[in-house]
């Protein structure tokens, strides 16, 4: 091929590959949505049982809570230490609570929780499903006329989405507590004053937009993990590649989608 045309072809190939990836993920999410009524409402045995759902929720969510709390507490504290001196210069030290609360509820709580959950849930879902592909378990499900989408993807998607929302709420509260602790111990802002400022600053829409983001992030984490896990080829090495790709692509996707959300909310004044 002409040397000059090669870069153009490479760009074209990558663009097509990206579109194929987005299309494949879209089909998976559509098929999961289609299988949801049967998966949730069918009689016992065929539906996604509470026991199965609960096990997934514990696996993807409950175990990640301590790490989310630790990370968001630290982020709340760091942000307070960074903002304190600047606000003090303008004589607005007490406003630190406003900044921490809005930043945490709208942005950092959902995003940081999602990044932690990507490591916990995304990687483990991709590795688990990828291993099932390698050991012919997915093929066996199909041969038994059992849809892998309903049987495997749906419970993981529901569990991750629900737990992402719960974990984000815990993360939000911990972030505020991190800010409160440093404000009280280092900046000498009274606890009551900090909490009053927090409640004054936070509107219901700040909380709701954060939770909407968290829900979408949860769907994105499990959707990508299941899609990349189901696409595993090449044995154990393929599982490793899928797991790494899941973590990297999910973090990129989370930040891109977050930007999209924040721009949209900004545009509409939410």
């Amino acid at each position: 091929m002409n040397v000059l045309l090669r870069p153009i072809r490479n760009v074209g190939d990558r663009a097509l590959g990206f579109l194929e990836f987005i299309g494949g993920l879209g089909y998976l999410l559509r098929d999961t949505a289609v299988s949801a009524p049967r998966g949730l409402l069918a009689r016992r045995g065929r539906r996604v049982g509470w026991q199965n759902l609960w096990a997934q929720m514990v696996r993807v969510g409950v175990r990640s809570i301590p790490i989310v709390m630790l990370v968001l507490f630290c982020i709340g504290a760091i942000l307070t230490l960074q903002m304190g001196p600047i606000l003090k210069r303008y004589g607005a030290l007490a406003e630190v609570a406003d900044i921490i609360s809005i930043a945490t509820f709208r942005e950092l709580g959902p995003l940081v929780s999602a990044i932690v959950l990507t490591g916990f849930a995304g990687a483990s879902i991709a590795a688990e499903i990828g291993t099932m592909v390698v050991s012919e378990e997915i093929e066996a499900l199909e041969a038994e006329a059992i849809s892998p989408i309903r049987f495997l993807v749906l419970p993981r998607l529901i569990a991750t989405t629900c737990m992402m929302i719960c974990v984000a709420v815990v993360g939000d509260i911990t972030g505020i507590l991190g800010g409160l602790t440093v404000s009280h111990l280092v900046l000498r802002i009274g606890g009551h004053q900090y909490i009053t400022h927090t409640f004054d600053a936070i509107k219901v829409r700040d909380f709701v937009t954060g939770l909407i983001k968290a829900g979408v992030f949860g769907t994105l984490i499990s959707g990508l993990a299941c899609y990349l896990g189901l696409g595993v080829t090449g044995g154990a090495q393929g599982v490793g590649v899928a797991t790494t790709r899941t973590v990297v692509l999910t973090i990129v996707a989370l930040i891109s989608v977050d930007l999209l959300f924040t721009s949209t909310f900004y545009y509409f004044g939410w």
Partner: protein, 265 residues
Amino acid sequence: MPDAIQVLDVSKKFAGRTVLDGVRLDVIEGETLVILGGSGSGKSTLLRLMIGNLRCDGGDIIVHQSKSLASLSGLELDEYRKSIGVLFQSGALFNSMSVADNVALPLREHTDLPEETIEIMVKIKLELVDLREHADKMPAMLSGGMKKRAGLARAIALDPKILFYDEPSAGLDPVTSAEIDQLIIDLNRKLGVTSVVVTHEMDSAFRIADRMVLLDQGKFVAAGTAQQMRDSTDPLVHQFVHGLADGPLTDRRRAGGYELDLLGT
């Protein structure tokens, strides 16, 4: 006896490479047909086409005398899959479930039986493969032969009409392999099913086959009873069936362009 499966000029390509090329064969109801072939001969692909996990690029597969697999909708394909059982090479047990839950899964998914009845049926199926006392074990705790037997118990859970076996003896010691072969023969007799076995193990093939089919490079080569295949004068059949080091299969490999590959010209 009528045909349980008719494979009509089936072709399949992967990434432009032809894996099956106009294969034509019949599986007669009640028989055990062994599909033979070396690595890359297309025998496992043919099995995946017959169980509906892959779709043909050309030709068609007719099952139960009337249904064309190529034209089945998703729901019809699921109905067909409920009438067959498949034992995969690794057993393909669901590692997160106990042996009993593995066997119970198709019953829970596809029948309205109460849990007590399912438990009894699971015990019956496990007894058939001599694994009843291992019902509560997890797949990781089983040996290779036990995994295959558990996979077989799951495959027969819905009382299928046709059973497919993908390399049932692969990776097993000779004694366990002979046990699995005997199990295939016993199940065929007890359940009256049609069996399609994909293998390259000739000892196993001779023990279980009513008829054999040999594939090579995705093409049909020969078919016949075990005795007919053993006595065949076709050089390719003769070499494969008798496991000889010299013959057309190895000649072809030797003429694989080694000099060309080394010198790069």
